[in-house]
Assembly symmetry: C2
Homo-oligomer: 162 residues x 2
């Protein structure tokens, strides 16, 4: 039925970043609300960040709009303009193609969470603001490379075989 029972929807802590870039994301979990409810045109997640955790590496999307509303605790939104404190009810929007990369960090000592919505598109490219990396996404999955398309180096991702 349309009303969701959030207590029955699983959370996951998967991180798709290659090698050592996935280190430090243990404190991030996401509860997907779109798939279980049959929605296909945009994704909806509640992302919870434990103290010290971050939402993602700072990035922006080429094809997909993104929107978030804070639901719990306090986070710091970091973008090209600096740091912005986000509290429950605060919202932020990231239009597709706007090169102002963003992520959120929990600098408090209690968990914090936000609802995030992103368009679903058959393909997508995201650019990482602070490192030489981009990701191309299609039906086959994620392909992380340097911004010029060349492979990431061991210097960037270590030699972990994942």
């Amino acid at each position: 039925m349309p009303k969701l029972d959030l207590s029955q929807l699983p959370s996951h802590s998967n991180c798709s970043y290659p090698g050592k870039l996935s280190d430090g994301f243990e404190g991030r979990s996401a509860q997907a609300l779109g798939d279980p409810s049959g929605i296909t045109q945009f994704g909806v997640n509640i992302v919870t960040l434990q103290p010290g955790a971050q939402s993602s590496l700072r990035h922006y999307h080429i094809q997909q709009d993104e929107f978030l509303m804070m639901t719990e605790g306090e986070l710091v939104l970091i973008d090209d303009d600096g740091e912005h404190v986000m509290r429950p009810g605060d919202c932020a929007a990231f239009p597709a193609g706007d090169a102002n990369g963003h992520h959120l960090i929990n600098k408090s000592d209690v968990p914090a969470a936000f609802l995030v919505v992103g368009t679903r598109t058959p393909t997508e490219t995201a650019i990482y603001s602070d490192i030489d990396m981009k990701v191309e996404v299609d039906a086959d999955g994620y392909s992380f490379t340097r911004k010029d398309g060349s492979p990431l180096t061991a210097d960037q991702i270590g030699d972990k075989n994942d």
Copy 2:
């Protein structure tokens, strides 16, 4: 910048329903968050309902997914399965084409509000569950008719010239 200053975004109480069908929507207001932030792929609104107000006539969308999260107060979600109490943090999703029409009513004595997201598509049709009406939306605006496409009657909408 990405973080929105909600105190600076206007609310409106416009109601597009024809004739007397727009009666009783004075207690509904919506604050658009998508347009001011440059997002184009989905719409985002915070809808506030005063005591007694409803979100819309009960309806479902043919082409557009819809998702909402309660942010304030208490509302009753009405769908084919009956009434469901919605409190802050509660979510509901309405996949495109799912013929389970819905709306929300404020049966409490204080204002209540929810965040709602809907895909933007070039055209859209919505079907009203409890009356013989549909609406077709395109770049030219809204066209309300009976479900068979014939004009609404004075019996349905009165003779108000709007």
